[in-house]
């Protein structure tokens, strides 16, 4: 019996730990929402690789998995209400206030697992359709559930989806074509600034968002080609460094394009040689220098999209934004999926595997590589345009190197070249960064100030604990650690792509270098 319990806990600990953490941090009805989401996931995963003869069997397997998760949730909500809340300085709840949410979480999780489990019993093509419909249903009603449960996760969900688009785009360059791009945030910035310039008072242009969106994508794609052109001869780490340099230059440019004035150089040079500065022919910004990007202060406000029945999208109402970015993600997913299987996608795979062999097979390296950069940039152009309209303001500091690395982190965590993995990586990293870390900081602060600090006599130590133990200041550390650990332990990512996995494991042992083999 005890061994069985240990086995069950071991098999469900990842999802269970996430669920527990969610409840402990957020409390309230968050357990029900996370139970719904994770219960579906647990039920789906439990049915993978099993033969499911009838919906009944499937429902039983799925509900089982959901129930185990539900028990985690139930225990966690008891823990949260009775132990964590008083320790972190909030008022403790009575058992009757905790029980409803705990029991509901348990029920919802079991039900969700059962439903998805029973769908897995369908024959093959319809099974996938049913799973997709379930997924679509979850995504569509998520904002309403979120509203009812008062978890207010929609804003974070929008940010997560923005980064999912970016990660999907980077996956084209890095995962499909094998070109490591460390300056990806530059394209994001270019998309955002294009939108900012074309629909704000900066240049007195106020174009419709729906016109600007494709323009931003095209401009980003052109920037991708411009970046790609000098890097065609480079590979591996040199390419990475050039893209990094590009990624550093772009924010500097946007920061400093505040006084643009262009003179015709030859006439100006003659003018200054003969002491007649008025000879210079001025081309742009003659009366007063053009202020394109407004420097550090950024462009603010930026026009918002509007639709016939919805009206102008308001910042207080998250629903239209959520569905817009969801539509963009679905569109990008579909496009990238088709691209990967196209002739171009196959030539990317060939280039990734062996450039020389690919060119010997008649693949046009220049075209394929440039298109890889351009396609990757296109989707970040979408992301940037949406971001600019959604935040309604853009600053150069938003697009620094750490953004590129965070996106790279998502792609690597999820699995290079695998779209499901990349989406999962994006969700995990953004949820951890934007949702869990700030909330953890809040709870930890409450916990420290009520339960720990009064018991510490040493003022130095007290001061240290009060100021230095801030999880939001540890985010770079966590990203870095993710990269290092993933590279060493599981370089193919959480959901690996079959080709990449074969490359990283098993192959290539026989032709290792002598010194390398010895150092193992």
């Amino acid at each position: 019996m005890a061994q069985q319990v240990i086995k069950v806990i071991k098999s469900s600990w990842v999802l269970g730990a996430i669920a527990t953490l969610t409840i402990i941090l957020f409390g309230g009805w968050s357990g029900t929402v996370i139970g719904w989401l994770l219960g579906t996931g647990a039920g789906f995963m439990a049915c993978q690789g099993k033969r499911i003869p009838s919906p009944k069997v499937g429902a039983r397997i799925g509900a089982n998995a959901g129930l185990i998760l539900g028990i985690w949730l139930f225990v966690a909500s008891l823990l949260e209400g009775l132990v964590i809340r008083p320790l972190s300085g909030q008022s403790s709840l009575g058992l009757f206030q905790i029980l409803p949410s705990g029991i509901l979480a348990l029920l919802v999780s079991t039900l969700a697992g059962g439903v998805i489990g029973s769908l897995q019993a369908l024959p093959s093509p319809r099974r996938q359709q049913a799973t997709l419909v379930t997924l679509a249903f979850i995504l569509i009603i998520f904002p309403f559930v979120d509203q009812v449960a008062q978890t207010s996760w929609v804003a974070t969900a929008i940010e997560i989806l923005i980064y999912v688009i970016l990660a999907l785009g980077l996956n084209i360059t890095v995962g499909y074509a094998g070109l490591l791009d460390l300056g990806y945030a530059a394209f994001f910035a270019i998309g955002a600034y294009t939108t900012g310039l074309l629909s704000s008072s900066q240049l007195n242009i106020a174009w419709n968002f729906w016109v600007v969106l494709p323009i931003a994508a095209v401009v980003a794609a052109i920037a991708g080609v411009i970046l790609g052109a000098p890097t065609l001869r480079l590979r591996g780490d040199y390419l990475a460094i050039v893209t990094l340099g590009f990624g550093e230059i772009v924010p500097v440019i946007f920061r400093n394009l505040t006084e643009v004035r262009i003179d015709e150089p030859i006439s100006k040079m003659f003018g200054s040689l003969f002491g007649h500065p008025e000879w210079g022919i001025c081309l742009l910004g003659c009366d007063r220098p053009l202020n394109l990007t407004n420097g550090e202060a950024g462009i603010n406000p930026i026009g918002r999209p509007s639709l016939p029945f919805v009206g102008t999208f308001e910042s207080s109402n998250y629903l239209p934004w959520y569905y817009l970015i969801l539509a963009l993600v679905v569109f990008s997913y579909f496009m990238i999926d088709r691209l990967r299987d196209s002739r171009l996608g196959r030539s990317w795979a060939a280039i990734r595997e062996d450039e020389l062999a690919a060119s010997a097979m008649g693949i046009n390296l220049v075209k394929s590589k440039l298109l890889a950069f351009a396609m990757g940039a296109t989707f970040s152009g979408f992301g940037g345009a949406f971001y600019a309209a959604y935040i309604s303001a853009i600053f150069p500091t938003v697009f620094d190197f750490s953004v590129s690395v965070i996106i790279l982190c998502m792609v690597i965590l999820g699995g290079l070249g695998n779209m499901t993995g990349v989406i999962l990586g994006g969700i995990i990293i953004m949820a951890a960064d934007r949702l869990y870390l700030p909330q953890l900081a809040k709870v930890l602060k409450g916990f420290l100030s009520t339960s720990v600090l009064p018991n510490i006599p040493n003022p130095q130590l007290q001061d240290f604990i009060a100021t230095s133990l801030d999880p939001t200041q540890m985010r770079l550390f966590l990203f870095g650690l993710t990269l290092v650990i993933m590279m060493i332990v599981r370089p193919e990512g959480l959901v690996p792509d079959a080709t990449h996995q074969a490359e990283l494991h098993g192959e290539g042992v026989s032709d290792q270098s002598l010194a390398d083999a010895r150092s193992q």
Binding site: T231, I249, G480
Partner: protein, 386 residues
């Protein structure tokens, strides 16, 4: 060797590929077309350049009006370049031996500066302290910063890079980026330890002031030369220490047994192993030396600029890497040359172009060098082995 590590440097593709034919077409362009292409390029640079401060007429006027400023900026650039050169040696040593761009090196140097500040703060010396109290503090800070950075670098190599030595080439690079982020966060954390180290100031992320300990006696005045150029003993000391470190390293690599082992390992790891060289130890030693140099550079920068901040490692690291690439990565003399050139470029850009655009100019040099002469000034372009 795995197929990724066969190609140490980007190389020209053979001419029979479609891409190679494109290059040939450029080479076979009609004779008058090539200069025309360059002219058009130069015209565009002159047209767009003034936005980023590259305004030739104004620069010429500035220089003729006051040539002393030019000399002053050259001196500043020389000193800064010497510091950059020390950092870029760390990149070039590591790249030379295991072909890894050690991305974390810049942040390691930042940690060295923080270590030095902590030690000097513990000695309790303040701005312009008398030399007899400042010198022991600086010496102890030098020793601790070098040992700290060398140790961290060896540990990093052992746990973050060595397990990846057989992996595809991008794996250790990504791991190095991760380590760089970890170091940066450690710097931020360290800067927040005001309760233990009062020298860290109140705000964790804010720049820390580094005590100004080096004497400022104008060397030119002391030599009896009258001019407005300001070249103090402070500049001289930093320059001398930097040159001493570089010469020492050069002699170590060229003249000693261990240096010979390092060069052998860099040339061919397998052959070195057959000759009885402990390759792992030599690689660890390389990281130790590179880290120690980074620690020394951290102290020098602190003493020279008198302000350090936890993000300084990233930019400085990129500049140093640019310097290493400019000189020809893997080439020790090249790294020194590249460091000085980048130092000069940035100080001249600060004065004559626009200090806001200096970073862009430096990275533009990086992009241009990598795109057109990836071997660098002193390096050679290696043909791809198939």
């Amino acid at each position: 060797m795995s197929k990724e590590s066969v190609t140490p440097r980007p190389a020209f593709l053979p001419a029979h590929t479609k891409y190679g034919r494109g290059i040939q077409r450029v080479r076979q362009m009609k004779r008058w077309r090539k200069p025309l292409l360059y002219l058009v390029f130069a015209y565009i640079v002159l047209l767009i350049g003034p936005i980023a401060g590259f305004d030739l007429p104004r620069i010429v006027v500035d220089i003729t009006r006051n040539p002393e400023i030019l000399i002053q900026q050259l001196l500043v650039g020389l000193v800064n370049g010497a510091i950059i050169a020390i950092i870029s040696l760390g990149y070039t040593l590591v790249y030379g031996i295991i072909e890894l761009i050690n991305f974390a090196h810049g942040d390691l140097y930042m940690l060295g500066a923080f270590g030095a500040l902590t030690v000097i703060g513990a000695f309790g010396v303040q701005d312009e302290a008398p030399l007899q109290t400042a010198i022991p503090a600086m010496l102890v800070a030098l020793i601790i910063a070098t040992v700290l950075c060398g140790g961290i670098n060896v540990l990093t190599e052992r746990y973050a890079y060595r397990p990846l030595r057989n992996a595809p080439r991008l794996a250790p690079l990504i791991s190095a980026i991760g380590v760089s982020f970890i170091f940066q966060n450690v710097g931020l954390f360290w800067g927040g330890l005001k309760s233990f180290f009062p020298s860290m100031g109140t705000n964790a992320a804010a720049p820390k002031s580094f005590p100004d300990l080096l004497p400022r006696i104008n060397v030119l005045k002391a030599l009896g030369i009258q001019s407005n150029i300001n070249f103090t003993t402070k500049d001289l000391i930093v320059l001398v220490v930097a040159i001493a470190l570089m010469v020492g390293l050069h002699l170590f690599v060229q003249k000693t047994r261990l240096g010979k082992a390092m060069r052998a390992t860099a040339q061919n790891r397998d052959a070195a192993l057959i000759m009885g060289i402990d390759v792992d130890r030599i690689i660890a030693l390389t990281f130790l030396i590179g880290g120690a140099l980074a620690g020394a550079a951290g102290l020098l920068v602190g003493l020279y600029n008198n302000t350090i901040v936890f993000t300084m490692g990233f930019t400085a690291g990129l500049r140093a890497f640019t310097a290493a690439v400019l000189g020809g990565i893997g080439n020790i003399v090249g790294a020194m040359l590249g460091g000085v050139l980048i130092g000069l470029l940035s100080s001249l850009s600060d004065q004559y172009l626009s200090s806001r655009w200096t970073d862009a100019w430096v990275f533009a040099v990086l992009v241009v060098i990598l795109a057109f002469r990836p071997g660098g000034l002193l390096g050679e372009n290696v043909q791809e082995k198939v």
